[in-house]
């Protein structure tokens, strides 16, 4: 049964992608309907898969000696993330029906969205590192194609290419790790790597561990690769919600969580993971303080929240990170889609031109505030519980300075979140924008996600049971919802964190009164260049292209010279062979 459902979860979106590619753009109604049908079917299949979670391999297809078996495993970690990807995917598609209404080339849009959903579930469910890499690259390709969807806009094309190049660098890390695993274990199976990591020599295990860390950092836009995600915001907003907030950027966190038991003994690995998460969380929280583009602010906060998850894994809190991943996927998708309906209705992303929109679109204002409260970590919303869980793990298992900085980051989060809320929905009207309220398709998606923001933390006990019973290598403690609630509400760390959050909200309220929310002062030049990392990116890209230009001299295209090259190489091999004998 699990095998059939896995087939549905990966196959239905891909089938949908092929079918939609065959449709014609003269009939947008049919395209919307089919995309919604296929994505909802995949969402239902992914939810049906949850009860069948087990550590056993569900599907195994022999692929010959060199590729290993193509296996799919649906354990607790993967079914949770698959459900997130498919359910939020279908909500984003429902939202697109209205957001993309009247756009050209819906065929291309929906095909890539469905291709992405299928590839993402494949990446999560795959039990073979080589095929995981294959799906990993397809998600990067879809991300590129969708960021550059408005391909007559140079900024969108540049953002897409930047995202593609940076995630490719990470892909090389994953491939290197997978090949090193094969070289030392003779197998690409994820379960083999987890079971036999102790038998790999430390030097090789270090290569695998840091290769995977490189892949994870590039995919999840972590330091020093945090520059691509804000530029990826040129994509249509449902894409930002789906790919750049709720699913693809989580793949890096998933990779680290999946292989944490294998790598935790590698010297300096957990510390590097922690520091990368910490730097990403702080740098992007600071950038979000002065950003004036609504979607960029949300992108910075995504990088920052992913930083919290990575930090939690470094501190050993695999479950805390996955719990925050679930909460974040729900409330950030909500925030992005709500921001999407604001942008769709006023036609600009610049928060300086917004203001006072709350009265004109009350529904969107209310759900946006729910999402913002969850992002800031205000009690009983899902973001509160998972962030407290991370901070608690951090207090116990990481150095105190790291914990203190993360706590400071939580305050910054509360500040920039409410700065964003004031700028968009409250205060005086700064520009007379024509506003029309959100339609029913948007309201359905937003309503479901807002409800999710209230209730997903109730899944704590179930999620914990699912993960601890199906992940034999992670040694997770079993904890029920009630125990978690008592533990968190009685811990002094929680009250400290709440104080910091309240301080952040308070300061943003005071500053909102004084209208001093635009100036970044000395911070602006730093943030505009991503703390100097944009120029670093440019130097590397230009260096590579210059080197390629110089090497192209060797490609004359003249037959005689090519023959000389062949003969020269042949002679060199011959001399080497004779020499070594």
């Amino acid at each position: 049964m699990a095998a059939i459902l896995i087939g549905f979860v990966i196959g239905l979106p891909w089938l949908g992608a092929i079918v939609l590619w065959r449709t014609r753009d003269e009939n947008p109604r049919l395209q919307h309907t089919m995309a919604v049908a296929f994505s909802i079917a995949a969402g239902v299949a992914s939810l049906a898969l949850i009860p069948f979670a087990s550590a056993e391999t569900a599907i195994s297809v022999p692929m010959g000696r060199y590729f290993g078996d193509l296996t799919f495993t649906a354990d607790g970690l993967t079914v949770t993330l698959t459900a997130i990807a498919c359910v939020i995917g279908s909500l984003a598609v429902v939202f697109s029906v209205e957001y993309m209404h009247g756009e050209q080339q819906l065929r291309r849009y929906y095909s890539f969205v469905l291709l992405f959903i299928g590839a993402m579930t494949g990446l999560l469910l795959s039990g073979n590192l080589l095929f995981m890499f294959f799906f990993w690259e397809i998600t990067a390709l879809c991300s590129y194609a969708l960021i550059s969807f408005y391909n007559d806009d140079p900024k969108a094309v540049a953002g897409g290419i930047k995202a593609l190049i940076i995630t490719q660098v990470g892909g090389v890390g994953l491939l290197a790790g997978a090949l090193t695993t094969y070289a030392s274990l003779g197998s690409y199976q994820v379960s083999d790597l987890l079971a036999k990591a102790g038998t790999i020599p430390v030097g090789l295990l270090t290569v695998i561990a840091f290769g995977f860390l490189l892949a994870a950092a590039a995919k999840s836009a972590q330091f020093p690769f945090h520059t691509w995600l804000p530029d990826a915001m040129e994509a249509p907003t449902p894409i930002s919600a789906l790919i750049h907030a709720a699913t693809m950027v989580n793949a890096g966190v998933y990779l680290l969580a999946r292989f944490y038991p294998a790598f935790k003994s590698v010297p300096a690995w957990t510390m590097s993971v922690m520091v990368i998460g910490l730097l990403s969380a702080l740098i992007s929280a600071i950038s979000a303080l002065i950003a004036t583009d609504l979607k960029r602010t949300l992108a910075y906060s995504t990088v920052s929240q992913l930083g919290y998850m990575v930090y939690a894994i470094g501190a050993g809190g695999v479950f805390a990170s996955q719990f925050h991943l679930l909460s974040h996927a729900v409330f950030k998708a909500l925030l992005f889609l709500a921001a999407g309906s604001v942008i769709h209705s006023v036609g600009t992303r610049d928060m300086r031109r917004m203001g006072g929109l709350g009265g004109k679109m009350p529904f969107v204002r209310n759900v946006f505030i729910i999402g913002a409260l969850a992002l800031a970590g205000v009690p009983i919303l899902n973001g509160f519980w998972s962030k407290e869980l991370i901070l608690e793990v951090g207090l116990e298992d990481s150095p105190f300075w790291a914990y203190a900085l993360m706590l400071f980051g939580a305050g910054l989060t509360a500040f920039y979140t409410f700065r964003m809320v004031w700028l968009v929905f409250f205060g005086p009207e700064r520009d007379h924008l024509h506003v029309h309220s959100a339609g029913s398709a948007m309201k359905v998606s937003l309503g479901i996600l807002a409800a999710g923001t209230f209730i997903t933390w109730l899944l704590f006990g179930g999620l914990n049971g699912l993960l601890s019973s199906t992940l034999p290598f992670h040694e997770l403690e079993h904890e029920t919802l009630l125990e978690m609630i008592t533990a968190i509400s009685s811990a002094p760390a929680t009250w400290l964190a709440l104080l910091v959050v309240a301080l952040g909200v308070g300061i943003s309220w005071v500053r909102a009164r004084g209208f001093q929310l635009f100036g970044g002062g000395w911070l602006s030049p730093l943030v505009e260049t991503s703390f100097g990392f944009d120029s670093l990116n440019r130097i590397i890209a230009e260096g590579v292209s210059k080197l390629a230009g110089q090497l192209s001299l060797t490609q004359t295209g003249v037959l005689s010279w090519n023959v000389v090259g062949i003969l020269g190489a042949f002679l060199a091999v011959l001399i080497f062979l004779v020499w070594s004998v």
């Binding site: 295209g557 003249v558 037959l559 005689s560 023959v563 000389v564 062949i566 003969l567």
Partner: protein
């Protein structure tokens, strides 16, 4: 080196290779290049049979050689047809002139 039958054939293969590569280096006519490539492929075919004999797996070597002959015939036919088309459309078979048409 003693001139056993195997060594004699090997010498033939090397000679054919040398002729082929020399031809590739100096030839500029497209049709002649197809001919020279054929010489190289013949060296390979003989080498395959030789390798089969030397490793005691003659059947394998012969069947590989037969496959190469078939595949190569197709390649030669297509290459010659292309050369004819190039002559018709561009008016020359000279490689140096053809490559100056690039870009």
């Amino acid at each position: 080196m003693i001139l056993t039958p195997l060594n004699a054939v090997l010498l033939g293969v090397v000679l054919l290779l040398v002729v082929g590569f020399y031809g590739l280096l100096i030839t500029r006519n497209l049709i002649k290049i197809v001919l020279v490539l054929q010489i190289l492929v013949k060296a390979v075919v003989i080498a395959l049979v030789l390798g089969g004999k030397a490793s005691g797996n003659l059947g394998l070597g012969q069947s590989l050689a037969a496959t190469v002959i078939v595949a190569d015939t197709v390649v030669a036919v297509v290459a010659l047809a292309l050369a004819v088309q190039v002559r018709r459309r561009v008016g020359t078979l000279d490689l140096a002139k053809l490559s100056s048409l690039r870009g």
